[in-house]
């Protein structure tokens, strides 16, 4: 991990019609870090992540990835810059086999040449996917779906992976397993930006954290130094965050 910034979100606003979902959001994600984004439902986390990926367009502000302004770019172009997302609810391709899902991860022409090598890497990280290689993805369990979504993201050989709601609906033992893999992938230099529902786990598994309340950032810093009680107040919208 370095102090160099890989993803810079600068003063971003996103509105849906009259509703301002996020406002004046500024974040610096450091290269090689695991950064947590903490906030209750409706705090604007997914809106922010979708804005980074070009799924919705900010009305104000700039998003700079790896030194390049990607604000307002098409999603399919942003992915080519080396940033990808394992979206909320995994969104695997139900009508395709596990192997085909992985191949879709390496869809970008420059990455197709490396697909064998990437698939080997993914199968080492998630052996269960190798066992289910030929099965239709719709038959996978919740945990396996989340693994496939992360594995599919790795298939594009990215510099940075965004995981939205990484643990939603999963058993604790599976969540532990998935975070172990995240740390392993992070060890090879991939930056992570992660949304998780559980404050303690978010702080414990990340280097840096940003806390969002009602569409704005209220707290940020090194995860180990943030006061957990105050982060929880912000998460639940109580005491001074009411």
């Amino acid at each position: 991990m370095t102090d160099e910034v890989i993803l810079r979100i600068e003063d971003v606003d996103v509105s849906y019609g009259d509703f301002r979902a996020i406002h004046d959001v500024t974040m610096d994600i450091r290269r090689g870090s695991i950064t947590s984004l903490i906030g209750a439902n409706g705090a604007g986390k997914s809106t922010l992540l979708d804005a980074v990926m070009g799924i919705n367009k900010p009305q104000k502000g700039k998003i700079i990835f790896n030194g390049e302004d990607i604000t307002g770019m098409r999603t399919s172009m942003i992915v080519r810059k080396g940033i990808t997302m394992a979206p909320e609810g995994s969104m695997i391709f139900e009508g395709m086999s596990v192997k085909e899902n992985l191949l879709m991860g390496a869809y970008i022409p420059e990455k197709r040449k490396k697909k064998e090598e990437l698939i080997e890497r993914v199968f080492t990280l998630f052996p269960v996917l190798k066992e289910k290689e030929k099965q239709l993805a719709s038959f996978l369990s919740g945990g396996q779906r989340q693994m496939l979504a992360i594995a599919r993201a790795i298939m594009s050989d990215p510099k940075m992976i965004i995981c939205d709601e990484i643990s939603l609906g999963l058993a604790p033992v599976i969540i532990g397993d998935i975070f172990e893999r995240v740390h392993e992938i992070n060890g090879s230099g991939v930056t992570f930006l992660i949304v998780d529902q559980e404050v303690h786990r978010s702080l414990e598994n990340s280097n840096y954290s940003y806390v969002m309340v009602k569409g704005g950032v209220v707290m940020s810093g090194a995860s180990a130094e943030l006061p957990e009680d105050e982060v929880k107040d912000a998460f639940f919208g109580i005491n001074k965050y009411a």
């Binding site: 979206p87 969104m91 391709f93 009508g95 599919r152």
Partner: protein
């Protein structure tokens, strides 16, 4: 007995033609959830183009078909990119209306240029019985229809199942957001899908023109056949399209055999109704559910 066997054989062969009429509509529905009302008219437009090219400019029908394919692919791509893609995010109805508008424009332009006379692109080969036995005979046109239908459907299946292009198209229909996240420009692939559907419409246009006569307003009649095929086989399933074509073709011919030729069209749709009651989504449906 002879007549029954002949009906079954003709029904199956006609089913092949019906399948290729429906397959373009089926992939468009399966992949972008769009009901292309103009499909029949686009097919008849191809028939007219092939007729013009083969009688005015080139000697060979095959070369005329290739030129028409180029024209129709460009037309389909532009139509999707500039008209349908502009409204496809706004729900089902606006896109449906755009295709409805296109179908009216095509009919009237064809009527304006060619008049309401019957036309055909029949080759000499079409009317000859290539198979003739004691029980049944098969004309060149019907045999060609069936063989070409099988080849086109097999080729489409291979492309959709086994190539990056096919996987990208399927991913866009499976989950648009996730497909974009993989780097697939989904709108571009919608246009490519429309272009592929146009290729099948051109081939269907040639086969229909080679088998029957056609008028500027024939499109609607074939749209209804395409609908029948797609609804029976299951929206979006290519193999289902073949099955749907065979069932509709056989249903019509057997209906004509048992209840008289007046019942031919009716019996096809009665079978469709019965199948819809049993399996509302069609026999092999994998269409986009909204």
């Amino acid at each position: 007995m002879q007549l029954l066997i002949q009906s079954i054989v003709t029904g199956i062969l006609l089913g092949g033609l019906y399948a290729i009429i429906g397959v373009g509509m089926s992939i468009i529905f399966g992949i972008m959830g769009l009901t292309n009302i103009a499909h029949g008219n686009l097919m008849i437009l191809s028939s007219f183009l092939i007729m013009v090219f083969s009688t005015q400019f080139v000697d060979s029908i095959i070369i005329a078909l290739l030129i028409t394919m180029v024209c129709m692919v460009i037309l389909g791509f532009l139509f999707q990119k500039f008209l349908v893609n502009a409204v496809i995010d706004k729900g089902d109805e606006p896109a449906l209306l755009v295709t409805f508008g296109l179908s009216i424009i095509i009919q009237n332009v064809l009527d304006l240029i060619f008049g309401a006379d019957a036309r055909s692109i029949a080759s000499d080969f079409a009317q000859v019985n290539v198979v003739s036995t004691k029980y049944f005979s098969i004309s060149g046109a019907y045999l060609a229809n069936f063989i070409v239908a099988i080849l086109v459907i097999a080729a489409l299946t291979l492309i959709i199942r086994g190539t990056y292009l096919g996987r990208a198209i399927r991913s866009a229909s499976d989950n648009t957001k996730a497909a974009e996240l993989m780097g697939v420009n989904t709108k571009l692939y919608y246009a490519i899908t429309m272009a592929i559907a146009m290729l099948t419409a051109c081939i269907a246009g040639l086969l229909v023109g080679n088998t029957f006569v056609f008028y500027p307003y024939s499109g609607t009649q074939y749209l209804i056949i395409a609908f029948g095929v797609v609804v029976i086989g299951g929206m979006g399933s290519i193999v289902g399209t073949m099955l749907g074509g065979l069932i509709l073709g056989l249903g019509q011919l057997l209906g004509a055999y048992f209840f008289g030729t007046g019942a031919q069209i009716l019996s096809g749709y009665i079978i469709m109704l019965v199948l819809l009651t049993i399996r509302p989504a069609g026999l092999l449906s994998n269409a986009k559910r909204k």
